[in-house]
């Protein structure tokens, strides 16, 4: 399965600022997926990032708030813009390679103060 490097692992940010999360995969993948996991909750899909095209956002998530870049087949970024305390969550990137469903990054724990 793929190996994913996600960074930063954690950050504390001031409200109103933005944070960009990076996700690097050790192999080329068609799709990269970004999830949010609020404290004590399950994972919620934010968007799907396909190389060379605009990301596809799930209901409740918009590009202005969560812009995504996918410049090549091994890399993607998610930006959390104009942050508020409600954005405090763990953000995870993931890919599907091979027969075992998803491989996840280790996550970025974001705290907005």
């Amino acid at each position: 399965s793929a190996v994913i490097s996600q960074k930063p692992s954690r950050d504390i940010c001031q409200r109103g600022t933005s944070l960009t999360i990076q996700c690097q995969v050790d192999s080329q993948v068609t799709m990269m997926f970004w999830y949010r996991q609020q404290p004590g909750q399950s994972l919620t899909l934010i968007a799907t990032a396909n190389q060379g095209s605009e990301a596809t956002y799930e209901s409740g998530f918009v590009i202005d708030k969560f812009p995504i870049s996918r410049p090549n087949l091994t890399f993607s970024t998610l930006t959390v813009s104009n942050m508020s305390p409600e954005d405090s969550s763990i953000y995870l990137c993931s890919v599907t390679t091979g027969p075992y469903g998803y491989t996840f990054g280790s996550g970025t724990r974001l705290t907005v103060v």
Binding site: T30, S42, L43, L45, T48, T96, Y100, G101
Partner: protein, 112 residues
């Protein structure tokens, strides 16, 4: 997109066998069932996957009845380190593009 239903939480004692059942009534013909384990501050990780009947690996067993509308993850002789959240997901195999939707998961607490 298949929807799954699991118990929210379970408690067990060390050394016991734990069975977590997942309901997926609208599973499609080409869907597989995959279970993930998530520890705090980590991303979910693959445990086991199956299509029908029984699958066993070094970590767990997965039981799937003939109608495939449910599945049971069996963890033999759990230890404290098995305390985690367990997610059941269904979807096609090796698609590379399938969007998995996570249910609530089952929060397993293993007690000494």
């Amino acid at each position: 997109l298949a929807k799954t239903t699991q118990p929210i939480s379970m408690d067990s004692y060390e050394g016991q066998e734990v069975n977590i059942t997942c309901s997926h009534n609208n599973i499609a013909t080409n869907d597989y069932i995959t279970w993930y384990q998530q520890f705090p501050s980590q991303g979910p990780r693959f445990i086991i996957q199956g299509y029908k009947t029984k699958v066993t690996n070094e970590v767990a067993s997965l039981f799937i009845p003939a109608d495939r509308k449910s599945s049971t993850l069996s963890l033999p002789r759990v230890s404290l380190s098995d305390t985690a959240v367990y997610y059941c997901l269904v979807g096609p195999l090796d698609s590379g593009t399938y969007k998995y939707i996570f249910g609530t998961g089952t929060r397993l607490k293993v007690l000494a």
